[in-house]
């Protein structure tokens, strides 16, 4: 039973990782670089939620909705103002620039939010124990949102014109442009989507965690682990990768000390990369 409890906790952790990583992976596939600032966009979403909910007294749903929109717009603004002008310099320069962007966002959040801890005005989680396995309503919300986002994103990418354009850009941007796809507007849609997803992950971070200005950036390592494990494959490999790492980290506590959870995450990544150097996806796919 204890093992099953770890397994359920791991699935919840995996679902949070899916939310935190799916936008990051989308940017990576379409824009072609690792946007390290994605972790700080979680912070934008989290602290916007906190500000509207705890500071302005808004209902959590309204606060969450506006926080997602704000984060999407901030992400788009950063892309247009900073990443677009240097895009021609290649993914390595974009990657390093994104580190700088992360520090700028972090500094601005520091300046605006100040010191100490922040929590939402949403009350204590309610625990349920079906079949003797403990789970809270907030954990169930994380799982439900991860499932909803995954299904919605899959439908969007497969059934809508913009989604298909994003997939085409991910596979071959030059060919996509030559076939009449508006590369610029598709790129903007990608940034809005990926940043909005970061905002949603930030909302969940605010719901389940105690916020400090350092907390969002602290998620970057495990986001990278999930993204690297997933490789450049489809959306489904990100889902699988998030669940694998989440379950591996939490179930490992059954046998080894909890302090080694990050090590377990990267051990999984290293082992997989040894056998599949391009990640779970194997080859690049849309």
């Amino acid at each position: 039973m204890l093992f099953l409890q770890f397994l359920v906790t791991g699935i919840v952790t995996g679902c949070f990782l899916i939310l935190a990583t799916i936008g990051f992976s989308l940017t990576r596939r379409v824009e072609g670089f690792l946007n390290i600032a994605h972790a700080e966009l979680l912070g934008v979403g989290a602290f916007a939620t906190w500000w509207f909910n705890a500071s302005r007294g808004w209902h959590i749903i309204a606060a969450a909705a506006i926080a997602v929109v704000i984060t999407a717009l901030v992400g788009l603004g950063i892309a247009r103002a900073i990443y677009d002008p240097i895009r021609v310099r290649g993914p390595a320069v974009l990657l390093i620039t994104s580190v700088g962007v992360a520090f700028v966002i972090g500094g601005v959040i520091d300046a605006l939010i100040g010191t100490g801890i922040r929590t939402l005005d949403i009350g204590l989680a309610t625990s349920y124990e079906p079949f003797g396995i403990r789970i809270t309503n907030y954990q169930l919300l994380v799982v439900a949102l991860a499932a909803l986002v995954s299904v919605s994103l899959a439908l969007f990418l497969n059934r809508t014109r913009t989604g298909l354009a994003i997939r085409a850009m991910a596979v071959n941007p030059e060919l996509a442009a030559s076939r009449g796809i508006d590369v610029r507007s598709t790129s903007r849609a990608t940034w809005l989507l990926s940043s909005g997803l970061a905002g949603l992950a930030g909302v969940m971070l605010a719901v389940i965690a105690t916020l400090t200005t350092d907390l969002p950036f602290a998620q970057i390592l495990v986001i990278l682990a999930v993204a690297i494990l997933a490789g450049l494959g489809s959306l489904y490999t990100v889902i699988a990768s998030g669940l694998i790492i989440g379950v591996a980290m939490d179930v490992s506590v059954y046998w080894i000390p909890a302090g080694y959870r990050p090590l377990v995450a990267f051990a999984v990544v290293i082992i997989v990369l040894l056998f599949r150097p391009e990640g779970l996806a194997g080859t690049r796919a849309a």
Binding site: L2, Q5, F6, G10, T13, F16, R28, G32, L34, G90, P91, A92, V99, G100, F103, V104, G107, D110, A111, T115, G116, I117, R118, T119, L124, A125, T126, S127, R134, Q139, M204, L205, I208, A209, T210, L211, T212, T213, D214, L215, F217, A218, Q219, L221, L224, A227, I228, G231, L232, D250, P257, A258, G259, R261, P262, L273, P277, E278, G279, R284
Partner: protein, 449 residues
Amino acid sequence: MQHTRIRWLHILAAILALAMIAAACGDDDDEETSSTASPAQTTTTQTAAATSEDPDPVTDSDGSDAGTADAEPLEAGEVTVGVLVPLTGELGEFGEIVADAIEFGVGEINAAGGTSCGTIRTVIADTGGDAETGIREATNMIESEGAVAILGPTSGVMVALVDLAKREEVVIMSPYAGTITLNELGGDFVYRTVSSDLGDGAASGLWLSSRGYESVAFMIQNEESTISPAEVARTEVTDAGIEITDFVVYNPGQPSYQAELTTVLANEPDAIFLAGGQESGVTLIKEAVAAGFDGEWLFTADLAVPEIFDAVGAELINDKAFVEFADADPSLPEFISFEERYEAAGDPFAPNSYDMVTLAALALEASGQCDGAGINSVIREVADSGTAVSTFAEGRDALAAGENINYEGASGPLVFDESGTVSGAYTIQQAQNGEWVNVEFYPASTFDN
């Protein structure tokens, strides 16, 4: 007391390396490159007016943030002291308390006419709790501002500054750096007006052993400053015949600590000893209570702030939670006098901070040298030999009369051991009706053996 962001900044290179691997693996067209980025920390430097009238030394007189202020040039008849504290990040509230108490002490010293080296001029900088930023700012304070002492670093910053302090012969002192690393490194140019973390462990162990628990679980943040005292507490609790159901060392910065709590809650301890920061601590408390934990808690100093009641929900911890921290002896006349003069005397580490700057000023006065080497040469004597004094003015007058002095601090009698550390007293407070209330005090003599 350490800061979690440091961990992530220091492994930035690892992130980039992983990113490069990923870029290389995932995109054949990507251009390979290697590069490093320097973390761009926001730092603040300010000249604080040497007056006790300034209520907020970390803010300029025009209300602007200290981050935009520049140090005023050194004038004749002034001696510079650096105030190196975290004004941002999780420990920012403590940094502000320390900076304010130092400024109060400086105000008293300057109001009394200053030292024979001149009035005290302070230069404030924000470390954010980051050691690298601390070294940079301390170097600037010494080389550009001519600081003779640097006051206020947290544990990680303090340890990082040891070599610099000895090389530049500048005294560094902290009112809250309890790290046991300084038990080995301190003592020469490196001092602290707070006891070692090991003392916190002994006090925590003593409290846990006295409560009649049959079993206790330890949840310890993965920092040297929390693990070492927890080991001391574990020994004490084990010796008392109490079962330790779990000794979980967890990493901070996680959205949730459910995995860490799983076995702890399954073993149903009577109490949980939680040695962690505010971020991890609040999440852990809420998750444990939501999962049905109904036992008692003992927290460490980071959670000894009123904000915890808002963050956790006072009803969840009222009567069940206790907190242990190094504290001044409230019965001492020196503390009572300090409390009458300084309204924020009860803030954590405020008396220790006041003592720190007063000691530095008295050492300047006693040595006759207006530099760090002078302070270092006499600071032990000033703290523990001769006529008892409790303010700068009293000490200066006694020195002028040719007497040796024994500075009795607001935080307690200050006697530095070989490592430049004082022995400490500890308070246990209980959560009652949404505030922390004193329920036990362990004077320094409790731990003499």
